[in-house]
Symmetry: C3
């Protein structure tokens, strides 16, 4: 089954591909790689998941936020590539959690995005290298921000 069909089967509605909120592009394609800007957890209704994990929100809210970042990245890929089928594999994910200084479960949170990508492109090609770390602060107090690199078919 193709990545586009798998996305359909998830019945997860994608948010709008976000317009840049600053001087940057959502994606850059260079040779066989797609570089994707840091994305936030945009909901379909235009709001975002906000709040610091381990302070105003818990790790399960954080994991849902990370999945929503993944959906937002999928929306950007679909808009810019035309189809998720053009992605061969996930290369690299930098998962940044807006967390209290004592929070310790960043991998659990970022799995929300990584599990989504594995559903779309499979357990072999849908999983890349990753760092899951805690930021001091994030734009608009969003709960998670993720940047990524994908390889094209």
């Amino acid at each position: 089954m193709t990545a586009d069909l798998k996305l359909e089967k998830l019945h997860s509605e994608l948010p709008e591909a976000p317009e840049p909120k600053g001087v940057y592009k959502p994606v850059i394609i260079l040779d066989n790689l797609v570089y994707v800007s840091g994305h936030g957890p945009n909901r379909v209704d235009g709001t975002q998941f906000t709040g610091k994990v381990g302070q105003e929100v818990d790790k399960d809210f954080g994991k849902l936020a990370a999945r929503q970042v993944g959906l937002t990245i999928l929306a950007t890929l679909k808009k810019n590539l035309g189809s998720l089928n053009r992605v061969k594999r996930v290369v690299k994910v930098l998962g940044m959690v807006n967390a209290h200084p004592d929070f310790e479960e960043h991998p659990y949170v970022i799995n929300g995005c990584s599990e989504l990508f594995a559903e779309i492109w499979g357990a072999e090609l849908g999983i890349g290298v990753r760092s899951a770390v805690g930021m001091g602060s994030l734009p608009g107090r969003i709960t998670v921000e993720i940047e990524a690199v994908f390889e094209l078919v």
Copy 2:
């Protein structure tokens, strides 16, 4: 107009290309890419922009600091490449703001660097993908640190 001429027209004096303060190189050239180490906001007089945004300094100071990081990166590129004309385009910027945990306007701050790059290489090729995020702390309490990847002509 070439990138070097645009830089001249800005009348922005570049700081010295900084010597590494640790065990790293300022740039690595690999195939058609230039990887640039994290740079700080070095002034021409050898001092740096310091202080946490949203605590000791405000977002406009932060934006000036980010522009100064951009100028410091330009100094490093000029020293290592000979000319800014050898850069084809900005690929990727990781903009790290030394911010109070409640700060929310990282994109506004990092635009200080991104707008400079857009002035030098144009609105199409001078703008790449980006993440603009808040760090818990930065070396020497500098206000902004930025690492970047450029594509060569």
Copy 3:
């Protein structure tokens, strides 16, 4: 002397190459590059260096932790590549220190890893570009996390 022989000469016992604690791969090889996931400071006995620099632990503990991250990355490279000799050079290191908001000596800490890589692959090819920065928090309260990119022979 080859990288593998230099490692032997160090008499530094490598920890086990860590199994992923989340949905990611330790390394991805793409063309001539090896992308390495964020690694922590794993000891041979299975424990990790933990604690925030400038709060529960000092900068020299931090530097030892960074060296241990380097050894953990070497273990992952050896397991996945078969030999450290397959690495041509260090391209890029992102050194993330779990630090108190007022900590300022991140380059000193991350040198613990960078000096190890320079011992293994030499002062020219063993040193790449780098950012050394302070995170708000890290998984399991580890002291340092580092992700890296290497070029293959």
